[in-house]
Symmetry: C2
Subunit: 287 residues, 2 copies
C-alpha cells in the first residue's frame, strides 16, 4: 500500500480487531508496526519513516494503555489528540492506523497478564511497579493482532525495548523488535509526549537530563570506567539545576541492566528526573 509513485494515499483508520484483520488480510508484506500511545511527535515520525523505508505496509497503533499506568492521574492527564495524530500518520504515508477503544483491546472478562522477569525489575520497573507487565501484555496483544514482520520502538525507552524484545523472543512471536535512535530538540531534550506538560521554566530546565548524560559520556570517553564516578558525574550536573528532582541515575550493563561497578563492555547511562509533576527519562548507550 505504501506509495512509490509520489501520490499519497489516504491513511485508513480502523478501531476493531475484526476491521484490523480485514484491512491487513491482503496487505503487501513485509509489514511494519509502530506501537504508540498517540500525541505523536518527530520521534514517532522517525519510526514511521524507518518502517516506510523497510516495509511494504506500515501500521501505526494509537492506544493509551491503562494497564501500564500505575497512577490514575498520570493516565487521565496523558495527552490525546487523535485527529492531529492521524494527520501526522497521513503526512508520513502510513497505510493504516489502529486506534482501538480500551474495551476492544481488553474485552469484557480479559484476565491474562504477561510478566517479563529480571530485565523488567530495575530502573523503571522499580520506579513504576506493574508498568512493564502492562507494556508486555498490551504489546503481545498488538503484535498478535497485527502480525507484523517488524516493530519499531524509540531507544529513548531503552528498558521498554529490552522488555518487549525479551517477551517476543520468549513467546515465539514472529515480530522483530527494532530500536531506533532517540530524536532530540535542538537543546538536547529527548522528544516525549510528556514534554507538553512542562511549564515554561521546567521546559527551560529539561535539557539538564541530556547534559548529565553527555557529561558522563564525555568522562567515559576520557577513560573513566568507574560506575560510581559516572553516576556521581550525572548527579553533579543534575544538582546544578534547582528544578530537577532526580529519581535515579544508572550505569548498567546494556544487555541485563544490572548496575556496573566497572564498565568493561557495552553499557547504558540512564536517568529519571522529575520537573515539577512531570517525570522524564533519557539514556545514552555506551559506546
Amino acid at each position: 500500500m505504501a506509495s512509490s509513485t509520489g501520490i499519497t494515499k489516504r491513511t485508513v483508520v480502523v478501531r476493531t480487531r475484526a476491521a484490523l484483520r480485514d484491512a491487513l488480510a491482503a496487505a503487501p508484506r513485509p509489514l511494519g508496526v509502530v506501537p504508540t500511545m498517540g500525541w505523536l511527535h518527530a520521534g514517532h515520525r522517525s519510526l514511521m519513516q524507518r518502517s516506510r523505508a523497510a516495509d511494504a505496509t506500515t501500521v501505526v497503533t494509537i492506544f493509551v494503555n491503562p494497564r501500564q499506568f500505575g497512577d490514575p492521574r498520570d493516565l487521565e492527564q496523558y495527552p490525546r489528540n487523535e485527529a492531529r495524530d492521524v494527520a501526522i500518520c497521513e503526512e508520513e504515508g502510513v497505510d493504516l492506523v489502529f486506534a482501538p477503544s480500551v474495551e476492544e483491546v481488553y474485552p469484557l472478562g480479559f484476565d491474562t497478564s504477561i510478566r517479563v522477569g529480571a530485565i523488567a525489575e530495575p530502573l523503571e520497573g522499580t520506579a513504576r511497579p506493574g508498568h512493564f507487565d502492562g507494556v508486555a501484555t498490551v504489546v503481545a496483544v498488538l503484535f498478535n493482532l497485527v502480525g507484523a514482520e517488524h516493530a519499531y520502538f524509540g531507544q529513548k525507552d531503552a528498558q521498554q525495548v529490552l522488555v518487549v524484545r525479551q517477551m517476543a523472543r520468549d513467546l515465539a512471536i514472529r515480530t522483530e523488535v527494532i530500536a531506533c535512535p532517540t530524536v532530540r530538540e535542538g537543546d538536547g531534550l529527548a522528544l516525549s509526549s510528556r514534554n507538553v506538560h512542562l511549564a515554561p521554566e521546567e521546559r527551560a530546565a529539561a535539557p539538564v537530563l541530556h547534559r548529565a548524560l553527555t557529561a558522563a559520556r564525555d568522562a567515559w570517553a576520557a577513560g573513566e570506567r568507574s560506575g560510581d564516578a559516572l553516576r556521581s558525574r550525572m548527579r553533579e550536573v543534575l544538582a546544578g539545576e534547582p528544578l530537577a528532582n532526580p529519581d535515579y541515575v544508572s550505569v548498567a550493563d546494556l544487555a541485563t541492566l544490572r548496575e556496573l561497578d566497572r564498565i568493561d563492555g557495552p553499557a547504558l547511562l540512564s536517568l529519571a528526573v522529575r520537573l515539577g509533576s512531570t517525570r522524564l527519562i533519557d539514556n545514552e548507550p555506551l559506546p
Copy 2:
C-alpha cells in the same frame, strides 16, 4: 500432507523451532495441533482423529513441560517413551511431530511468564500453585510456533481447557481451542498418562472417581439442585473406597468454575483423588 488415498505417509519428527517452521512453511491449511506431554493413549488418539477429520495437516507436540510441575519428583517420574509415541502418531496419520528439548522451548535466558487470572485460581490452581502459569506459558509458545487454526485438548483436563482458551483469546492468538470428550476405560476410568503409575489394587479402585461423578450426575438428573447435596454425594461414594484419598470435590459454574450453592445453569462436577502416590482428576459437565 494428510493422506486421503489410504497410503500412510511417514510422520516427520522435528526437534527445533527452525525445523518446525521449515516443515510447516508449505503445509496445507487448515492446520491442527494436539499439544501433549507424550505417553500417548487412546485419549490422545481421539484428538488426533478429530484433527485429521477437520484439518489438512495435523501436528502433535510432545513436550513434558517442567514449568507446569510444582513437584520435581512428579516431573522426574512422568512417564516417557518417545519411540512408542511416534509410532502411535504414525498409526494415526499425523503429519508432523514436534518433540523439542527443554532448552529448545526455553532457550537460555528465557524469562517470561503468562498468568491467567480468576479461571486458574480454584481447583487445580489451588492444589497445584504455579501449574497453570506453566501451562499458559508453554501453550502460548507452542501456539505461536505452530500457528495452527485449531488446537485439540481433552475435556478430562476441563480447567486447563478454560485457562488455555482464555489465554489465547486475551492475547489474540489465532488458534481456536477445541475441547474433545474424555475417553474412558471400560470400567469408567478416564484415560491419563498417570494411570501407568497405579499399583494393581489402586487401578482396581480407580473407577471410584467416575462412580462418584456418575452418582452426582444421577442425583442431578433426578432433580437435585443443591451444590452441597451433590458434593456430599460424591464424597459418600469416594468414602466407600478405602484406597481413595480425596483432594477436592467440586460443583462449579461451567464457565467461571466458581462453586455453586444452587445449580441453575451449566455446571461442572469435578474431583481430584489420590490413590497411593498417584493423583487423578476427572469431571462431568452438566447437562
